[in-house]
């Protein structure tokens, strides 16, 4: 079956095969994208990406937990003592150094995603060595600004994007 005429113009033959193969591979590559992208958050999930919370009923020393993007968000109305304790901590003692001012736009309101940065458990409030939060899963302790002080967690608890729409209303996300 092998004959000489086939071997005459190897360059053009190869080019055709390579071009077709590449063009086909390109199509398969692009065609796979919808199959992957469908797993990304859909339009209805994205529409819920921001929530508005009324904080008028949260008194000093109280906290509420709201659900945002399927995760708990702690909103704590801190006492003056808690704020002072957080400010007094020297940066050198912190594993993930952040000042209290960086953590709370208005000092009396600490708003953070209530998920331990170790493996995703939800820490308990007003507990632990530093009277902040304490994660029962692997004993990570956070201070009154939600900063990691002790235990396996590597980072402070996350501060979500939020803004005060008024003194009693915040928008998270």
């Amino acid at each position: 079956m092998a004959d000489a005429s086939k071997l005459d113009k190897p360059g053009r033959r190869d080019f055709l095969y390579i071009a077709t193969g590449a063009f086909g591979a390109l199509g398969v590559g692009i065609g796979v994208w919808p199959l992957i992208d469908q797993m990304n958050p859909d339009a209805s999930v994205k529409a819920l990406a921001s929530i508005e919370v009324d904080i008028s009923s949260v008194g000093e020393g109280e906290s509420i937990t709201v659900s945002w993007r399927g995760k708990p968000v702690f909103i704590r109305h801190r006492t003056a003592a808690e704020i002072q304790a957080a400010i007094d901590v020297p940066m050198s003692e912190l594993k993930d150094p952040e000042t209290d001012a960086q953590r709370a736009e208005r000092p009396e309101w600490l708003i953070m995603v209530g998920v331990c940065t170790h493996l995703g458990c939800i820490p308990l409030g007003e507990a632990g060595e530093y009277d902040g939060w304490f994660c029962p899963c692997h004993n990570s302790a956070y201070d009154t600004a939600g900063r990691i002080r002790k235990g396996p967690a590597p980072l402070n608890m996350e501060i979500p994007a939020y803004e005060f729409l008024s003194d009693t209303k915040i928008k998270i996300g």
Partner: protein
Amino acid sequence: MSGHATYVPKSDAGKWLEKRLPIISLMHSAAVSMPNPRNLNYWWVFGGIAMFMLIVQIVTGIVLAMHYTPQADMAFNSVEHIMRDVNWGWLLRYTHANGASMFFIAVYIHILRGMYYGSYKAPREVLWLLGMLIYFLMMATGFMGYVLPWGQMSFWGATVITNFFEVVPFIGDDIRILLWGGFAVDNPTLNRFFSLHYLLPFVIVAVVVLHIWALHVPGSNNPLGVEAKTKQDTLSFHPYFTMKDLYGIVLFAIILFYFVFFNPNFMGHPDNYIPANPLVTPAHIVPEWYYLPFYAILRAIPDKAMGVAGMFGAILIMFVVPWLDTSKVRSAKFRPAYRIFFWIFVFNGLLLGYFGQVSTTDNFLGIDGITNLIVSRFSTFYYFAFFVVVLPLLGLIEKTKPLPNSISEAVLGEEGAAEEAADLAAVDAKA
């Protein structure tokens, strides 16, 4: 023709694996070195196309299942959620819905090709049986899939089909209740249909593997129906048939995606965009188009039990075709009389499909006094007569045309075949 494994692993890793699990050489002999008759025409690409469609259906189906909710109150809206909110959801669902139709088109052509060229005859009976089993599983899968969007046609289609089982003597009623998980089609029915709709395609994949295995043993039939005997009768599967199949698949994909992008609802039914309502039956219940011929047979027979038996019989009779056909000659190319009956059979099938979706009491083609029902009975009669009368008798009385000695002789002429045989011998000698 089973001794054509020519794969020799070159790398050490390849040798290591080959000793322990010769899977690469197995695949190599099935998809690369397998000798195929050189004279296959384009009707032979539909096997590859059907396989491609099966993959498309499984891949799109798995991702759709990530967003679908098989619960009677939520199913309809979850499908619309896919259509409206999920990234590319409309594309995935339209591809899956139209893909089912195109899968059936490919398989119908594949089956008719087998019937035209006598591909079911010895030694390929098991190959045919496995193919029919795939077809049967496809019908079940397609039916249950159509129920999932939980529209009006879904619901009432499910009701009609499950009611077939009532005709089973003594236990018919119990079977129905068992299928429903209640006293009518309802949430439990939807849930189990979803489970089975997810399972069956993988059963189909398993049977497809057996189907390919059974093809591998005797090799492909061909348009002449003469067995490949010598080396010059065949070409290796790769690159000759892989590239031909791929070309066919791309052409077929153009048709599939024309429907997906520009006419995605053509093959569906408008009523399925109305949520299921157990208290209101649509004016005309019409199954998916690929069941229409069988639905026409059901409606043509006046008795309920006989109608159901006729409908299932119409599918089951296809399984025994290898033993109904008495002709020694495979290809219709050399069977002038069979060719005529075959094309009438194809046309009759289309006609039955037409009868499956029109009102039985209307006049056929507007001709006074001749209802669709009457003509559909003739069609039903021919459908069965083709299998139980034409196939057995025609083989005994038909005068067939003379067969060529070999594929290569028919393709190359006597001289050419001799020449190529000498060439091949020289190549072998060198090696």
